[in-house]
Symmetry: D2
Subunit: 99 residues, 4 copies
């Protein structure tokens, strides 16, 4: 099971605000019924690599659908095959050790 | 005011677990008294660019102090000068629009 | 047409050297007959988003095939729909203006 | 010795072209007299971590100097302390093995 973090940035839109683009990505994730979490710097999604690449493609395309002519997307994938890891577990494990 | 997300990955440690390295970064941030937030894919920190680059250097070095001989660090910075943005505000603004 | 840069990092292999993992990714790209370019910090590939996500999945999987139990992959995509951009053109255009 | 790759993306400029921003970063690097290499997806720079963070700050600031009000910067650092690695060596080592 892998965790992906994705950030989709529209370029050349004429506005410094990109909130509506982020809203569009969250609607897609909600409709797909996936486990995901929005943070201030991206969206984290849980799944296997094939699913995650399909999700990445859809979120990237959503920015073009909303009118962008150039889109810059950054993706990080952390994939462990020796252990099942769900969203929230890595953070939880670190926070416990900090107490 | 900028937001930074940073992920510090030790390479060649012989263990797939990197939790102790993440714990070390959180201790540094706590001691510095900064606004930060741990997520499953990195740590978000708030500050101006000069501070953030100093934080990045310290978190990166902490992995060597813990014994890594090679460290791979990924940093994303979102810096607005037209508006003051604090940690949590971007997420909050998107979640409101999703209701 | 989009350009992708991808870096595949095996975690916990016990060696600071990852060259053999990079070699494996280059073999896949060569076999696929794509336009790509190896740099010191990743591999750049040219194609449409659907192809690029399939390439990313294959390169990511190759690290598991070579024995890694945890793989960290970073992907950046720069996708323009207002203009056809091939590998080498962006660099060429900047270098011309620097003369 | 570490290698850094940095990409500086201006947001909300109203133009899908960012070439002039890239030109500005190259001029700074040339004036600093550093070893660097422009690729289609970023600029690679060689140095120790303290220098690299200073370079990152300057390149990031250059986009504001050119008029951007929001700047998104992505940085990857690959830092080995068990071996001296210069720009071009990692690529060279992989290409040799592919022959």
């Amino acid at each position: 099971m892998a965790l992906m973090e994705i950030t989709v940035v529209p370029i050349g839109t004429g506005s410094t605000s990109v909130g509506e683009y982020v809203v569009a990505t969250q609607r897609i994730l909600k409709d797909m019924g996936l486990a995901y979490e929005l943070t201030d710097m991206g969206t984290e999604v849980e799944g296997d690599m094939e699913l995650l690449m399909d999700v990445a493609r859809q979120l990237h395309e959503s920015a073009f659908s909303k009118g962008a002519a150039r889109v810059y997307t950054v993706i990080k994938i952390d994939d462990r095959r020796d252990k099942v890891v769900h969203l929230g577990q890595k953070t939880g494990s670190v926070l416990e050790r900090l107490d």
